[in-house]
């Protein structure tokens, strides 16, 4: 039992160390393939792989993972041969490199099962062995162009040393301790405030003022520093896409180049973990629907090879990611026709509103007739995933020129700036990323239409739910609802009536134990300054919730 546990931990460590290495190797192999296709040198990049492969081989051997050990070993031999004699390169070599490194990327996450993938690994090894003993089969490829810039080579070969990795359990533990310190700090501040009211003034109190103030500033710096240690480059997610896009494009018989920029942009793991899936949706959508078939591109005077851009950049406390293609662009007429056929409400004919329809649940998945017709492989799912993160998604398009999706996501979900509200003497944290506005409820402002609360807000009528009823406080309303908080998730809005706004606070988010079920209106919990637990409201769940009984 204890042994198993320790072993599982070792396996986790192995995966978290070797997977980024393998992904780096895979990226380099794909880059090598491109260079050879273009008739360029890549021997330095291939030579640079050997050290990384050696590390993977060694680690795998230590863990008794024979499949990975075999594959890494075979790749190492292959890389050695190519580095020694680049004239030996050809399609067969690049295919083997890409296949082998891809195999590593697939095998490593399954390391918990020591026998997994042995068959595939042995196949690969025998292919390599056959290849190495037979010598280069095909005719030598196009003559090499020799002028290269050194910086490029270093970039290609640099996949080994710069890989960042972190043991997040340790960092989570650190964050937990920090959370406790934050609670104690606010308790101290509270005592200080009470003391000041009672004593009034005095030299010791002035000292205490200063210390409490300084502590607050230090805690803020500590929070920033702690968050920094948790940040990982977005390339840990982007890394997987080069291969995915290449494979999908091949299936679609299209030529697509994926250009990645800003891979060094930092994000918290809590966000990174949930970013992969929506990005895969958007990239697949770009390959399948955005990019036209080659003949269509050529006759439109575009390069036969399409370019899909994946770019990330930091913007204050958010990260902006764009997925763009130089394909055919969105066709408003077709979108409108399809929306009408599906019986969807079309807000207006202006392009932005029409584009917005592609995110409507069911729009992109309702029709699978042809690639030409609509756009959207699970675009609604991608948009929903981004909204869940407290992010936003927008689309822009130019007919014949291409389409781009712009996502904006918060840096972290571990510490969330929140509004603390009170409903029937219970306190709740509401993530500010989902709060459009808080409004004092003026007498007579709350109307009832069809037994549902409605208020006018910024020129439109929005539905407001009673906080007590929504959260099931069960007590008869003792305190008057003085405010409503306007929550939003994507384009949807909903008001929630609350008694009191307590203030703004950074809260350390803790998950709910599965014993507590999966409440739709609560996403987690946190500990407030007075040591009490407060639930964190799930704005997405609340906004999505249709009428509460």
């Amino acid at each position: 039992m204890a042994h198993d546990h320790a072993f599982a931990e070792l396996i986790q460590e192995y995966i978290s160390e070797c997977l980024p290495l393998a992904e780096g190797v895979n990226d380099v192999c794909l880059a090598v393939e491109r260079r050879w296709d273009a008739g360029d040198h890549a021997a330095a990049a291939v030579a640079g792989l050997k050290a990384t492969l050696h590390t993977i081989k060694g680690n795998s051997a230590m863990m008794g993972l024979r499949a990975m050990q075999l594959v890494a070993h075979a790749l190492e031999d292959l890389a050695g041969r190519i580095a020694a004699d680049e004239a030996a390169r050809g399609e067969a070599e690049s295919a083997l490199l890409v296949h082998g490194s891809g195999l590593l990327v697939d095998l490593i996450p399954a390391a918990a099962d020591p026998d997994a993938g042995t068959g595939a690994a042995e196949d690969f090894v025998s292919q390599v062995r056959l290849h190495l003993t037979a010598g280069p089969a095909g005719a030598p490829s196009a003559p090499l162009r020799l002028e290269r810039r050194g910086a490029d080579r270093r970039a290609e070969a640099g996949a080994d040393a710069s890989t960042v990795r972190g043991d997040f359990r340790r960092l989570d533990a650190l964050l937990e301790i920090f959370g406790e310190a934050m609670i104690e700090q606010s308790a101290l501040t509270e005592v200080h405030r009470r003391l000041a009211t009672r004593v009034g003034s005095g030299p010791e109190l002035a000292d205490l003022d200063r210390v409490v103030g300084a502590l607050g500033a230090t805690m803020k710096r500590l929070e920033t520093a702690l968050m920094q240690t948790r940040l990982l480059p977005i390339s840990t997610v982007f890394g997987r896409f080069t291969r995915a896009v290449r494979d999908l494009a091949r299936d679609e018989r299209k030529r697509v180049r994926l250009v990645i920029e800003g891979g060094e942009t930092l994000l918290d793991k809590t966000i990174l973990d949930r970013l992969g899936e929506p990005l895969v949706h958007l990239l697949s959508n770009a390959v399948v629907h955005g990019v036209e078939p080659e003949t269509e591109r050529v006759s439109a005077g575009k390069p036969a090879e399409a370019t899909i851009g994946l770019r990330a950049s930091a913007l204050a406390d958010r990260v902006v990611i764009t997925v763009s293609d130089d394909g055919r662009g969105l066709d408003t007429d077709r979108i409108l026709a399809k929306a009408r056929a599906l019986g969807l409400e079309v807000p207006s004919d202006n392009a932005a509103d029409v584009y917005g329809l592609i995110f409507v649940p069911g729009f992109s998945t309702a029709e699978r007739v042809s690639h030409v017709a609509g756009r959207g492989v699970g675009l609604d799912a991608a948009a929903a995933a981004i909204h869940d993160l407290g992010g936003g998604i927008e689309v822009a398009s130019q007919p014949g020129r291409g389409t781009s999706f712009t996502l904006s996501v918060p840096l972290t979900l571990a510490i969330v700036r929140s509004l603390i509200v009170e409903v029937d003497h219970e306190r709740y944290a509401v993530p500010l990323s989902h709060v459009a506005e808080t409004v004092r409820l003026e007498p007579g402002a709350l109307h009832e239409i069809n037994r549902q609360g409605v208020v006018m807000w910024r020129g439109s009528a929005i539905h407001v739910a009673d906080g007590g009823r929504l959260l099931g406080t069960g007590t008869t309303r003792t305190a008057p609802r003085n405010y409503f908080v306007v929550l939003f998730a994507g384009p949807r809005r909903r008001g929630v009536l609350v008694d009191r706004l307590v203030g703004h606070q950074d809260v350390v988010v803790k998950g709910l134990d599965p014993t507590l079920g999966r409440p739709a209106v609560v996403s987690g919990a946190t500990i407030l300054g007075d040591g009490r637990v407060a639930c964190i409201l799930d704005a997405v769940g609340i906004v999505a919730q249709r009428e509460a009984a």
Binding site: E176, L471, L512, D513, T515, V522, G531, R532
Partner: protein
């Protein structure tokens, strides 16, 4: 710190039930006893009260006993969940074991405690009326509960022990928590 801070079992505060706070020492003793050869079939049970009846849980499943601090209700949680409480920075689910056993929810008094127990790898708090002490019971004194009280709903009772003038009901916690709950109104 705050008024709401919970007092752990090791706190040197005077308490109404003296037995409770020897509990930690007994746990240590128990741990030591595990090292040494134990005369087989001695059950170590922590005993507590629910609605006038005495119940017993194997000490191995119990981590500590804490006083009842602030419990925060969690909206839309299952009926047998009282809420969550702050256990030294951890968020501990608190189970209303009484409703699980068909009793009315507890109105906590000063004797009420939360038994922090490990059930199938999860740490949960059990809200009980009061905690008595750790009892050593020879395993052969455990007898099956009468057939009449046995049903699908009570298969979490592993047996009963006659203890002085009382009857101690032995609980299988994992089963008690799995049992179909008494529906909420």
């Amino acid at each position: 710190m705050g008024r709401s801070a919970k007092v752990s079992s090791a706190a040197p505060t005077p308490v109404p039930t003296p037995g409770v706070f020897e509990f930690a020492d007994q746990l240590t003793a128990q741990a030591a006893a595990v090292q040494a050869p134990v005369p087989a079939a001695q059950l170590h049970l922590i005993t507590f009260r629910l609605d006038g009846e005495s119940f017993g849980l194997p000490v191995e499943t119990v981590r500590e006993v804490i006083r009842v601090g602030d419990i925060t209700r969690v909206p839309q949680s299952p009926a047998h969940i009282r809420g969550v409480t702050n256990l030294r920075g951890r968020i501990l689910p608190v189970v209303e074991i009484r409703t699980r056993l068909g009793l009315t929810p507890l109105v906590p008094r000063s004797t009420a405690r939360i038994i922090v127990a490990e059930v199938r790898g999860r740490v949960l708090g059990l809200l009980v009326d009061s905690v008595a002490q750790v009892q050593k019971v020879p395993a052969d004194r455990v007898i099956p509960a009468p057939d009449e009280v046995k049903s699908a709903h009570t298969d979490y009772i592993t047996g009963v022990v006659q203890l002085y003038d009382r009857l101690l009901i032995l609980l299988d916690l994992a089963r008690a928590l799995d049992a179909p709950g008494v529906p909420h109104s």
